[in-house]
Symmetry: C2
Subunit: 208 residues, 2 copies
């Protein structure tokens, strides 16, 4: 792609290096036990520089989540307009997770796996992932609002659909934890969405 500028490339390299060494350390020692100093030292930059790339330790770990949500919204926008909202969201979400698993779309499968583990073990991190999520939910509900043909600021439904979608993913992550990590998360996400859709079409699935 773009080669523009040595400076720019160098920046990208340090950024990637920081992410890489951060994930390596998180994986080895856990999130809390890893310090910024260690991450910085592994890349041979000052701790101060770390904060010029990421605003917090959480942000490195969750850079992937943010990326995922970005891609998700891109895929959602490309879905045929006549598709029901939930179906579109369903397909887009599954596609993103599949991309992560296979390492497509510039995703790193190893990082994704590490992140699954991190989110399962560190509740503090999971909390921050919600923060990243809610920052994007506004954007997501705008998109959904457009698709539903209603204003996402006055009508609560787009927000509801958006957060229900996120619920599905959360539930999938939760089930994943229950399987001790040996289950394809894309299938779990698929299943969670199926349950919601079925629940909506056949209330008996969720209401009894």
């Amino acid at each position: 792609m773009t080669a523009a500028g040595l400076r720019e490339r160098k920046k990208q390299r340090t950024r990637c290096a920081l992410i890489d060494s951060a994930f390596a350390l998180f994986r080895r020692k856990g999130f809390d036990a890893t310090t910024i100093d260690e991450i910085a030292e592994a890349v041979d930059v000052s701790p101060r520089t770390f904060f010029r790339y990421f605003t917090s330790k959480e942000e490195v770990a969750l850079s992937l989540v943010d990326e995922q949500l970005g891609v998700l919204m891109g895929l959602l926008a490309e879905r045929p307009a006549d598709e029901p909202v939930l179906t579109a969201l369903h397909r887009a979400a599954v596609d993103v997770v599949r991309a992560c698993e296979s390492g497509a779309n510039g995703f790193d499968a190893e990082h994704y796996e590490s992140m699954q583990e991190l989110l399962a073990t560190s509740p503090a991190l999971a909390a921050h992932s919600m923060e990243v999520g809610s920052a994007r939910v506004a954007e997501l509900s705008r998109l959904i609002g457009v698709r539903m043909g209603v204003d996402h600021l006055t009508d609560p439904r787009p927000h509801l659909v958006a957060s229900i979608g996120i619920c599905a993913v959360q539930t999938a992550v939760n089930s994943w934890r229950g399987t001790d990590g040996h289950a394809k998360s894309s299938e779990l996400v698929d299943r969670a969405f199926q349950l919601i859709t079925e629940g909506i079409n056949y209330p008996s699935v969720l209401t009894p």
Copy 2:
């Protein structure tokens, strides 16, 4: 109720005092701008003591959320067993919020109002409220699993229902922010649950 022990009462008093002064300061200066030292000083205890009552600054602010979830589960358990799960959750949630608004059940209406504001203004705090939430969701889905007659560990549906319920509340909080604070939150919660239930019975509400 219990008067048991001077020591115990003293502890309760400092705990309450800490919460009170924390909320007062948060309201006046905002969450981030308030320091632990200030909170402690206002109650005339050492900052170290603060951390013997709360593990973090967020925990004071969210002690109310935790309490709410506790009460919610109590109310849910008291609901007639033949009521559909979502309906039971719906009613219990609305009851809790109403109790907060009116100051019943030992809730403090002013604190509740302050918290609404805090959650709306500080995304960091909202994120941590998710952490408190997810810590309780496990408990909540166990309860729901019992009610649905399935095992909450192998069947993903209880977790799904629980998190959908929380989505409703979140959506309500979100709408509340849109009304500049002059709307009864219990009504918004009621409306959000209605939408979900209607969506389930009449899919066209949520799927188009």
